[in-house]
Amino acid sequence: MTQAMLYAVFGIVLFGVGLFGVLAIAHVMKKILAINICGVGVFMVFIANASSGVAADFVPHAMVLTGIVVAVAGTAMALSLVVRINALEQQEEDA
């Protein structure tokens, strides 16, 4: 088993851990964190596979770079929804 393969295997494990979090944890913030862990796992598999050949493949590198930015944007979107839900629940409790 090469080093790159090890990284890819642990990327899959990270994805599994994140998937468990998404499905099993009810807390919304932790769910968002779990989705991020899933995403990191996918990025790790991508990057590890890119370096498994003779030369490093640059297309996955560029795609992961794009993916990181989109993941940040998605997380911010989810967090803003959480803030909104929290505000609405607060309103409901106050009423």
Binding site: G53, L65, T66, V70, A76, S80, N86
Partner: protein
């Protein structure tokens, strides 16, 4: 404030899943992971036709860094859509009211709690961050670096500035709105303008490619930095009870 935040309203949903379901879930995910790992190991090292494709076309891309060449030339649609995604998220988290659009982008005030260490540190750090960001942007043509790294670094500078408390950003100001869209606008303009010479959108003419990529990257860096700072600003939530004390009127401009 998010200590007890779940989507379910009733207590049963808040308590989480029963133990049996959790064990089943763990087993199912473990089996799926093992299957994926086995598939990965069986797959071995595949042929990578893209490596030679990128290497043989690198000379035409206008830059020497293969990652930048892929991002902004070979697969520039990805990056264009990524900037668009950032803009959509920025629009989604922007404050809905437009009443502040007359105020200035950056307003200065003396914060109630001053952090002298951070303030003194910022005087040294901010210029260095801006210069490093410019360096990363420029060096992205030949070495690891580029618009995203430079934009993220600039956004870090903006967030540090916010944390020091002297400056606050108003993203409804015209200048801020310009910053938020300039990346996508320049990208689209350049992408459309090259149709005149090459006939295909986003297919830069070889002689101009390096220049056009730099122009797009400068605009994208500003937009990425502005949007990341906006995301940070928009998610800074006041304590839940404080917001019912009436709207704060702050007119520093």
């Amino acid at each position: 404030m998010f200590n007890d935040l779940t989507l379910g309203r009733n207590t049963q949903q808040k308590a989480g899943l029963p133990l049996g379901v959790l064990i089943m879930l763990v087993l199912a995910i473990a089996a799926a992971c093992l299957f994926l790992i086995k598939a990965l190991i069986d797959f071995g090292s595949a042929e990578q036709p893209l490596v030679t494709l990128v290497a043989s076309n690198l000379a035409q891309s206008g830059v020497d860094n293969p990652v930048t060449a892929v991002l902004l030339n070979f697969r520039s649609y990805d990056t264009l859509l990524e900037v668009a995604v950032l803009l959509i998220v920025a629009l989604a988290v922007m404050p809905a009211s437009t009443e502040q659009s007359k105020l200035r982008f950056i307003s200065v005030s003396v914060p109630t709690e001053r952090s002298f260490v951070l303030e003194a540190f910022l005087r040294w750090l901010l210029p260095a961050i801006v210069v490093t960001s410019g360096y990363l942007l420029w060096t992205g043509a030949a070495l690891p670096g580029g618009a995203f790294q430079a934009g993220a670094l600039l956004a870090g500078a903006g967030i540090l500035l916010l944390l020091a408390g002297h400056h606050s950003f108003n993203f409804n100001a015209p200048a801020a709105r310009l910053l938020l869209v300039v990346g996508l606008a320049v990208f689209l303009l350049v992408g459309a303008a090259v149709i005149l010479s090459s006939g295909i959108a986003l297919a830069y003419p070889q002689a101009w490619a390096g220049m056009l990529i730099l122009v797009i990257e400068v605009a994208a860096t500003l937009t990425i930095a502005a949007i990341l700072v906006l995301l940070f600003c928009a998610l800074q939530v006041e304590p839940p009870r404080a917001k019912y004390e009436g709207p704060k009127k702050e007119e520093h401009s």
